[in-house]
């Protein structure tokens, strides 16, 4: 029971600081050897660690591009490009054995994360107008669009609560004074929450864009969209980049 409590507490505190909304984590174990031509054990050891890390990085995530050029029905050249952009979470050296002074065998366990591209691009393409318009239509909808579900619930519930009360108060009001009272007590707070919801949705989207831009730079992500500049007829032909 005590252990369970410790695990739950640990999970709670870890979850506080690692949101991992856009990163997918993966763990791999790799065995590699490293050698040194000059017979230096330090160089051999470092080469082994580097080799192992490189292999692990490519096992976790790698984007491959390849191309071939054929001339007269014969393959003249071919090329393969491999790229990997990962965030390292943990690297552990499980075993290290010196086969000789210039050769080392190493076994590593590596946990790394790579970007969840599908989720990232969906979020990245969202606009400020999209968030504000949704919140203007229904308080809380803009927050759902921004994936802030808790805030969405708060705005939605508060708006419905005050507007619902206003609606029932107006229905049961008999005098003009009672109607005015219902307006000041319930409708004004509802309008305030509505305004707050619109403003919050807008600024959240603007700041989220900055956050996503930081992730994009850190992972060295570039737009997957086609460059359509060359297809645009408004650009004079001498300025087009073919």
């Amino acid at each position: 029971m005590k252990k369970l409590c410790i695990i739950i507490l640990n999970l709670f505190f870890v979850s506080l600081l690692s949101a991992s909304e856009f990163t997918i984590k993966k763990t791999v174990t790799v065995e590699e050897t490293g050698s040194s031509l000059s017979g230096d054990p330090v160089e051999a050891f470092e080469n082994a660690v580097d080799n192992a890390k490189r292999t692990a990085a490519r096992m976790i995530e790698s984007k491959i591009k390849a191309g071939t050029v054929t001339e007269d029905g014969r393959l003249s050249t071919d090329w393969v490009e491999k790229k990997a952009n990962i965030q390292v979470f943990n690297v552990k050296i499980l075993e290290k054995t010196f086969i000789s002074e210039h050769e080392v065998k190493i076994k590593i366990k590596m946990t790394a994360g790579y970007l969840n591209y599908a989720k990232f691009w969906i979020e990245y393409d969202k606009t400020v107008q999209g968030a504000t318009h949704r919140s203007a239509f229904m308080p809380g909808w803009g927050q759902i669009y921004n994936r802030e579900f808790f805030s969405a619930g708060l705005y939605g519930v508060l708006y419905c609560f005050f507007y619902g009360y206003y609606f029932f108060s107006i229905r049961s009001a008999k005098t003009e004074e009672e109607k005015n009272k219902a307006f000041t007590t319930y409708q004004i707070p509802a309008i305030v929450f509505w305004t707050l919801s619109i403003s919050d949705a807008g600024i959240s989207r603007i700041m989220a864009k900055f956050g996503l831009e930081q992730i994009k730079k850190s992972y060295q992500v570039f737009s997957p969209k086609l460059n359509t500049d060359t297809l645009c007829l408004d650009i004079p032909f001498w300025q087009r980049s073919f």
């Binding site: 690692s18 805030s151 060295q220």
Partner: protein, 264 residues
């Protein structure tokens, strides 16, 4: 006395929380492959520790590996590996030193590192002053927790709900005193009970006023304090990611409040 000791205990816990940097994550990592060479054993050990430090930084979160490999006609033409480190070492402790060869040392060192999780940062950046205010409207002190100002959050929560509970208790006392006053047999007892009843009414009003004022202030403070929380996040980001810059924007309500609110 018991209540006072509870309050002092809560304050001491809060002050502990307040001293901690709450935006960055801290992590302990063990490096068992720090390797170094030197002219003697001491130099080899020191070099190995430096090497281990570098490895610790490379292996903790927010360290990015970018690798690129190109092969043409089955021959490797380019092979690059680039590492971006966004973390720093807070302290370290040497665990073990091995000397597999002459003047070559392999060390095992524990490192405590500090870093800003980029995923966490992206989520944290979405927070707004409006959300903090609405949270404090629902529960006093919640907005301060949202702004990671835990000390103020606990203070507002305790003051608001403590005062409201006191006001409710005074209401019960008031009701009892009223019943006793109605059943009083002598004029002296009636006068005494009436004065006690008046005191209960006064203290109930006072407690209720404190509670309502504290709640209202909590809402206002959550809105105003968001700027501090945002700046703290920006400064932390600048420490760990100095090359990636951005400008903090103000919301429509914040701009409006800047114009409308009195400047003390």
């Amino acid at each position: 006395m018991k209540r006072l000791s509870v309050i002092i205990f809560l304050f001491s816990i809060c002050s502990l929380f307040a001293q901690e940097e709450l935006i960055t994550a801290k992590r302990k990592i063990r490096i068992n492959d720090g390797i170094g060479r030197g002219l003697n054993k001491i130099e080899a050990k020191n070099n190995a520790i430096s090497n281990a430090k570098m490895k610790a930084l490379e292996r903790v979160a927010t360290s990015f590996i970018h690798s690129y490999e190109k092969a043409e006609n089955m021959v490797l033409t380019e092979d690059k590996i680039l590492q971006d480190i966004h973390a720093r070492v807070v302290k370290h402790r040497l665990i073990k030193v091995e000397y597999p060869f002459e003047n070559v040392a392999i060390v095992t060192v524990d490192f405590w590192l500090e870093f800003l999780d980029i995923d966490f940062f992206a989520v944290e950046l979405r927070k707004s002053a409006e959300s903090a205010m609405v949270r404090s409207f629902v529960i006093s002190g919640w907005g301060q927790f949202y702004n990671r100002n835990y000390l103020h959050g606990i203070l507002f929560f305790v003051t608001t709900y403590g005062s409201i509970i006191q006001a409710i208790l005074q209401e019960n006392l008031k009701r009892d005193l009223k019943n006793q006053y109605l059943l009083a047999t002598s004029s002296e007892a009636a006068t005494f009970l009436y004065s006690k009843y008046r005191n209960a009414v006064f203290s109930q009003t006072a407690w209720l006023s404190i509670g309502i004022t504290s709640w209202a202030f909590s809402i206002w403070e959550a809105f105003e304090d968001y700027e501090r929380a945002g700046q703290l996040l920006d400064q932390t980001h600048e420490t760990f990611f100095p090359e990636f810059r951005y400008t903090r924007q103000k919301s429509f309500v914040q701009k409006f409040m800047e114009k409308v609110a009195p400047k003390w």
